[in-house]
């Protein structure tokens, strides 16, 4: 029995400890947004956050995640409450077949956590682990840069508001 946190909720599973996390999330917990692309850590379609770190879960046995916090694409944003990256993904019509996009967004979210104002080269280097067979790269890159800019603008805006608050 292995216990961990999945998108904020405590869960446990009886799946055998060598099962890669991807299959447990998809087949046992029925969250199918994370995808199987290569099964070998080469394409990034299965990317989730494990304790905040972007991780290839197709090669991560669940024995290694006991007690950890797992976030999947389902925990990043919803249709009514989109992650800023998802807003840009929609605004710029990023996806083609869409199959890689959960993994792309999970990697991109980690990038922005670690580096809120990445350069183009930063984005290219960080995202090189995520394959898009449809070739959406130009749009993925531009959506990430736009989301970073928007987040920075919002931060600046709220900092301004905070400094404008009169002391009581």
């Amino acid at each position: 029995m292995i216990e961990f946190k999945l998108n904020g909720a405590s869960v446990k599973t009886q799946d055998s400890p060598d099962t890669p996390l991807l299959w447990v999330i998809r087949d046992t917990f029925k969250l199918t947004g994370s995808k199987f692309g290569c099964g070998a850590g080469l394409c990034g379609a299965c990317t989730m956050h494990v304790d905040g770190q972007p991780t290839r879960t197709c090669i991560l046995p669940i024995a290694a995640i006991a007690g950890k916090e797992i976030t999947t694409i389902e925990g990043i944003g919803t249709a009514d409450n989109m992650h800023p990256l998802q807003e840009q993904w929609v605004a710029q019509s990023v996806p083609q077949c869409g199959y890689c996009q959960s993994g792309q967004i999970m990697s991109a979210a980690s990038l922005l956590d670690q580096n809120p104002m990445p350069t183009e080269q930063d984005v290219e280097a960080y995202m090189a682990g995520n394959i898009c067979r449809c070739g959406c790269y130009p749009r993925i890159k531009s959506a990430i840069l736009a989301a970073a800019q928007k987040l920075a603008d919002q931060d600046a805006e709220s900092a301004k508001e905070a400094s404008n608050v009169e002391p009581a």
Binding site: S16, D27, T32, G37, G39, A40, C97, Y99, E124, C134
Partner: protein
């Protein structure tokens, strides 16, 4: 002229179209009756099988084409929204069921491919939507008791003066009227949606993990299957020992199927683990003796020693060469390739009594139904196919042996089955883009006019495998010997009697050539061959456009001017090349980089590309690509741009990396470490220019690919002086 349809696929589709039409009549319905879920109910209006208006004024579109990434749901909804005056973003798109009404008008059966969807449905859907709008107006005339001339429509509403009435208000009356058949279509100047950028309707669900693919299907009691298959395609099981696998955790069943031994387990991971524990002796096919060197040697020999079939003859080559001042005689090679869509092949099949349900990404739902029926006792009309998004296809999902496998397992185990191929299986088990050896002998006069063009191709043909694959689908009850006979007939026809058009398309059409001939020699070793994004053009454009650069260099002309001079009969392609040339001049070039050019028409569209290349640490690096496209009237410019971007990345993967090799009949490459796909840090910036055109819309899913590899090779020549005539491009060390 270049404007030649893909006639071999056309002809084939006509033939199978007839068969499928007969099938549809025999098996499904005798006339076009809207199918469930398009049943007429009191509160919906369903004037045809594509669109349905609900009582809360929602418009549903039952999309007849499959969505594999090309944006067809958005594109076709835009066409409907335009003539119906409904904002396409508000149209709810569902995938249609199986019915002859949903046939691809270009094919005559329900298939998606060949970059045909917009071209095939443009007029059909406009008319159908215009008729629907006319019906609503007529109903409003009655209900509101006003003159027709006083009514307008906009955004799902009938407008009268300053009052607006939702379309749904007129459902009851509309049901009592005959549907107009020939309502007037809008003129292009009235377009509000066609020709304007519009976000993809599926972008949200494809950005938050809710988009449904076949691999996501779930069912009560679902069991998972993985297959131990022969490393050599076509091998069969001689004997096997699965005792260890049987004892492995979670394993329910072990069953022998046509292609190997399937393990059925409680979890996919259990099945995968157990597959490795099975010992199998295989009966190897002839292919088992073949390696890459053998194939290349056989192709080389055929190129030297055989003439094969000759076609496309014009004038007299001897005269042409006599009039030439310079000539080239070059060979070009491209390898076998896998499609490698990111969603590996998979299928879910559930059989209950004489009914079945199936999920599988496909390029035609009928293919799924046909294979389920063929491999079970379920009549084809009792198979429900749940169409989902496909995680990429590029031609691959026209071939559905994984559906046959899942059905065989479901029948043997009496369980609902999800069968998933690993990436390794997906890479190694075809169908493949055929390898090709091409030769171009050509001559140019002193003034720079092409006088002679003799092209020759050696390689396998796609049609025999397509026939073998399609017949069981179209005629699920046809006995295997009949299918085998049809396949070998097709093989014999294209090997001995005539040239399959897809084997030479693109090798000879684009330029003005007075003296011309194309020879074709079929050499096959038993690898299954398929359509692969842009089909024949994926290899012929490489040979043709590198040859054009060689000729320009030999006669001492600028490569763009040389092409334009010899493209007088192909003005649409010429104008895309001029656009690219102008843009490249504006952009200029950075130190240490060169631009290479190529132009190629395919799928009735015209594309020119320029690639800016440098050599960095001994590797080819593509920095920028400028692409100009004429695809007739553009429905959604942004989506066309997206398809060009994707085709360029796909083409660059093939130009730099794609290479499947054989050893003892087995494909050596297996996963993305040794069959690499272009990654973001290698992706060029892409600029796409679209021509303004009022011609009928043509294909965009494939035509962006063919010019890319030759453009890169031509840039490398300018940088290094080395002519690269083989893919993937490899620098002389």
């Amino acid at each position: 002229m270049s404007n030649q349809p893909n006639t071999s696929r056309r002809t084939f589709f006509k033939v199978v179209g007839l068969a499928s039409g007969a099938l549809a009549a025999g098996y499904y319905f005798t006339h076009s009756e809207p199918l469930p879920p398009l049943v007429q109910t009191d509160d919906t209006l369903t004037p045809n099988s594509m669109v349905q208006l609900t009582d809360n004024n929602e418009l549903l579109f039952y999309c007849p084409r499959d969505e594999m990434g090309q944006g067809v749901t958005t594109g076709l909804a835009t066409i409907i929204g335009e003539e119906l005056d409904v904002n396409p973003s508000q149209i709810r798109v569902k995938f249609s069921g199986i019915h002859e009404d949903y046939n691809n008008p270009e094919f005559g059966f329900q298939g998606t491919g060949g970059s045909t969807s917009i071209k095939a449905h443009y007029t059909q859907l406009r008319q159908l939507a215009a008729n629907f709008r006319a019906l609503l107006i007529e109903s409003a005339v009655i209900d509101l008791d006003v003159a027709k001339a006083e009514l307008k429509t906009d955004n799902g509403q009938v407008l009268y003066g300053n009052k607006a009435f939702p379309y749904s208000q007129f459902i009851a009356t509309a049901k009592t009227l005959e549907i107009p058949q020939h309502a007037k279509l809008k003129s292009a100047t009235e377009f509000k949606y066609i020709g304007f950028d519009r976000p993809r309707s599926d972008a949200l669900e494809k950005s938050n993990g809710t988009a449904m693919y076949a691999i996501d299907a779930d069912l009560e009691g679902l069991a998972y299957a993985a297959v131990a298959r022969c490393p050599v395609i076509g091998g069969t099981v001689a004997s096997f020992d699965a005792e260890k696998a049987r004892m492995s955790s979670g394993v329910f069943d072990i069953v022998q199927i046509e292609t190997g031994i399937a393990v059925v387990a409680n979890r996919y991971w259990d099945a995968k683990k157990a597959v490795k524990l099975i010992d199998i002796e295989w009966n190897l096919p002839e292919l088992g003796k073949v390696g890459s060197d053998d194939i290349r040697r056989d192709y080389d020999q055929a190129m030297e020693a055989e003439d094969g079939d000759s076609s496309q003859e014009l004038g007299d080559l001897d005269i042409g060469f006599a009039e030439s001042k310079v000539a080239i005689d070059s060979n070009y090679w491209v390898p076998f390739l896998s499609h490698s869509p990111l969603e590996p092949m998979n299928a879910v099949v559930h059989i209950q009594g004489d009914k079945a349900e199936a999920w599988a990404g496909h390029q035609g739902a009928g293919g799924v139904a046909g294979l389920v029926a063929r491999n079970s006792d379920v009549p084809v009309e009792n198979v429900t196919v749940h169409s989902t998004f496909a995680g990429g296809s590029f031609g691959r999902r026209a071939f559905l042996s994984h559906v046959a496998e899942a059905t065989q397992v479901a029948v043997a185990t009496k369980r609902p089955i999800k069968l998933i191929w690993s990436r390794e299986e997906d890479t190694q088990n075809g169908w493949f883009r055929p390898a090709s050896l091409m030769r171009i002998k050509a001559g140019v006069s002193a003034s720079g006019d092409i006088k002679a063009w003799h092209a020759k191709r050696v390689g396998g043909n796609i049609m025999p495998d397509t026939v073998a694959n399609a017949l069981p689908v179209l005629m699920p009850r046809a006995p295997q010997f009949a299918v085998d006979m049809a396949e070998s007939a097709a093989r014999s026809i294209f090997s001995n009697f005539t040239t399959e058009h897809a084997s030479i398309e693109g090798l000879f059409e684009d330029y003005d050539v007075p003296n011309r001939k194309v020879n074709h020699v079929t050499v096959e070793h038993g690898l299954p061959l398929a359509f692969w994004r842009s089909v024949g053009h994926s290899f012929t454009a490489f040979a043709k456009e590198v040859a054009m650069d060689e000729l320009a260099a030999k006669i001492g002309m600028n490569e763009v001017r040389f092409r334009l001079r010899n493209m007088k009969a192909n003005p649409r392609l010429a104008s895309t090349l001029e656009m690219v040339d102008r843009r490249v001049t504006e952009l200029g070039s950075e130190q240490g980089r060169q631009w290479g050019f190529a132009a190629h028409s395919s799928f009735n569209s015209y594309v020119s590309e320029a690639a800016e290349v440098s050599i960095e640490s001994g590797r080819i690096r593509v920095h920028r690509v400028v692409c100009a496209l004429d695809c007739g009237r553009v429905i959604n410019p942004d989506n066309v741009v997206s398809q060009m971007e994707g085709s360029i990345m796909f083409g660059l993967t093939a130009a730099l990396y794609g290479n499947l090799e054989l050893e003892n009949g087995a494909i050596k490459q297996s996963n993305f470490h040794d069959y690499p796909i272009l990654r973001m840090n290698e992706a060029p910036a892409v600029e796409v220019l679209l021509t303004e055109s009022s011609e009928a819309p043509t294909g965009v899913g494939e035509p962006g690919l063919p010019p890319l590899a030759p453009a890169v090779a031509n840039a490398v020549f300018k940088l290094t002086g080395d002519r690269l005539r083989e893919l993937p491009l490899t620098l002389a060390s």
